[in-house]
């Protein structure tokens, strides 16, 4: 039986009609709201490609039912920044050319944002540990770590959060 679920995505209030309330948040983002920046990687909560923030906590959206986000606030890669107004993380990733195929980057950027929100001055080890929930198969890890360090330094100097 179809249901209506109301929640907030990237600051915008949305209502979606879903066939049942076990529909994964990832499917709602991609197929109902056309927010395809959050990628499907495994559907098993193992790879981190689909990580979004739910009330500022990084969560693998493939494993969360839409019912569990009713009334809550979701942030996806589309809400992080835009080419015109990039988040310091996006800017640093561009400057460090921190990407190869790029499929993992949406989830990594969101994980990194969650880290910097709770720890503005992480060590390299802390960044790596925070990103251990995200897989990167191309081997771009070191560039990504450098980019997160750079963004953290900028944010501490007063860049936009």
């Amino acid at each position: 039986m179809s249901q209506t679920v109301a929640f907030t995505v990237n600051g915008r209030e949305v209502k979606v009609v879903v066939p049942h309330d076990d529909v994964p948040l990832l499917d709602v983002l991609r197929n109902h709201l056309c927010l395809t920046g959050t990628r499907f990687g495994c559907g098993l909560e193992q790879c981190g490609c689909c990580i979004v923030l739910i009330d500022d906590v990084p969560v693998k959206s493939c494993g969360r039912s839409i019912a569990s986000v009713a009334g809550r606030s979701v942030t996806t890669i589309e809400g992080l920044g835009t080419p015109e107004q990039p988040h310091p993380l996006q800017l640093a990733f561009l400057e460090e050319q921190a990407g190869q195929c790029g499929y993992c980057l949406s989830g990594i950027l969101i994980s990194a944002k969650a880290l910097l929100d709770r720890n503005p001055a992480p060590t390299r080890t802390e960044i790596a540990s925070a990103l251990d929930d995200n897989l990167c198969r191309c081997g771009t890890h070191n560039r990504i770590l450098r980019a997160v360090e750079k963004a953290a330094a900028r944010l501490r100097e007063g860049g936009r959060a």
Partner: protein, 711 residues
Amino acid sequence: MTLPAVLADNPRLDRWLDFATPERVELATGRVELGQGVLTAMTQIAAEELDVAIERIILHSGDTDRTPNEGYTAGSQSMQAGGIALRAACAEVRALFLDEAGRRLGCAVAELAVRDGRILHKGAETPWDYWSLAPSVNLMREATGTAPPKPRTDYAIVGRNAARIDLPGKLFGAAAFVHDMTLDEMAHARVVRQPNRGATLGAVDEAAIRRAARGPIALVRDGNFLAIVGDDETAVEAAAAAAAGHVAWIGVERPSALQQEASWLVQRPSIDRVIGAPAPDSAHGQQSYEATYTRGHLAHASIAPSCALALYRDGHLTVWTHCQGVYPLRAALSRMLKLDASAISVRHVQGPGCYGHNGADDAAADAAAIALRMPGRSIRLRWRRQEEFAFEPVSPAMVVKVRATLDASGHPVDWTTEIWSGTHQGRPGGGATLLAAEALPNPPPIPAPTDVPEAAGGGATRNGEPLYDIPAKRIVHHLVPETPRRTSALRSLGAMPNVFALESFIDELAERAKQDPIEFRLAQLSDQRARRVIERAAAMANWGKSEGRANRERAQRAQSNRGMGIGFSQYKNRAAYAAVIVELEVEESIRLLHAWCAADAGLVVNPDAVINQLEGGIIQSASWVLKEQVRFDNESGGPIDWETYPVLRFSEVPEIAIELIPSDSDLPLGVGEATAGPTAAAIGNALSRALGIRIRDLPLTRERIMARLLA
């Protein structure tokens, strides 16, 4: 000047370049973006040769309707073969425009130049540019190879870092991948996979599958091909996840645990060849040495499962795919669907990094097979994660036995590399079949076993011959047709296990001769470019000195088992040279501390992208060596997810320093696969120096290390 081979295959200049859009250059390349930055590099090459700003170039890539046929984007050939073809085409087009401008202006071509598409005469502006001249310049002609490319001393774009043109979209959440594409009237689809060729589909409990879907779905069944299709992806996925429990298959074969280790290959029937020097004269009575190295099957383990879209409308099939070769796939689809190739368009759209032949072609075939049965509906077919792990072709396990006769100083004078392997050539373009074709009625015959020919770099034999100065070298190749899983190309093909074997063996010989491994190598290596990368890597790593420090530290802390090791190769013995040095520490398992790499890639188009590729190769190879093997002895009978097939994570990646050796060559050498073999060998050699034990079987897991330490 002879035409580069790729240009000779695609000689029509209008196939490569088009000036119909004012102020823009439309450029077509048969190479496709796999995350390696090839589109950016091609743009740089064209901008350089045509003297236009990078921003003016609109690039079309991998589209059977409009781009040259360059076969596969594989084998680190994009720059080495595709880049120089594009360069020659652009040089010739530029020359044709200058001829026309000279005619209009009544001056010698030598007095003309181009600045951002504008024609200059003796440095001054003229009324002419590419776009105003375009109507009078006929590009519907074949390249002749008469226009020399720019001398590299004039380069302003090639050789300088250029930002990846595809990266911004990927950082801002754009619909960058084929997975993100939507079409009108789009249905989602999954296949219920035939477990193996020859397995037949029995009873299907449709009602149970529909109940699991919790939404409307349709089943498409033809022979042993079964697919689930519906408007709602959630319902289709739920049905597919449940389907395995509601479908009966007859004639299911599963790989056995016995077939898991490479050593299984040695007793199998094989097709045998000897390449290189005649058999050694065994009468010499010199000392000899031999050792056998193995590596298990590896998965590509792309970060996401394969996906494709297909639409069959008005007798024409269009397929959107992240495969590596749109033309070979079109030919394979044509055979499978009995549809003329002219009625099929195949378009490349980016996907997650594939590193070789993964499920991409098969997913495209699945989508096409469904689309043909549902005309007018666009079909989005995505594999499931479990499906990608269980059904993508894997890199074959290999056994590499090295035998050498040694001179008095312990250096090899006669060398044999004996290789047992399944094929590395399972691509549809090589005659292999698509999974859907095996499941549909009247499956094609099983193709005859072949491997990649040596002219294309070899498959199992790739890098089987050492580059060292050895009077007699040969390869004995046993191609084993029977493999527990379908096998095909993975980044570097046989080069990774071969270089692991060769470079481990060289270290073992150095140890026997009580010589430093680097000095031992250099004593038998006359190729100057090879010597330079080894010497440079040694200097970067502070080889010798730093190890002395590690030794002192070890003496201080008895528990510190640190070691450094080196690995070297010239990829395919004709692409980029790379030396990698690794420093690691072993407790119960290996912790990588540092890696240093020096590489000579000849003419480098985009240095930052080359470094990114070399580093990615080091990390991926480290992951293979430390963690990866397709195992058949677990509950699922093979890998199905990231727990049954773990890969290296952020916390496990070493610090890496990479330097490119400056080169005055004007030919690029492929780099994408150059560090895979050297890294594997460097880790094995470092482990040996850290612990004093040699482990010749990959992966170098904690279990293997512990077993050897306790033995």
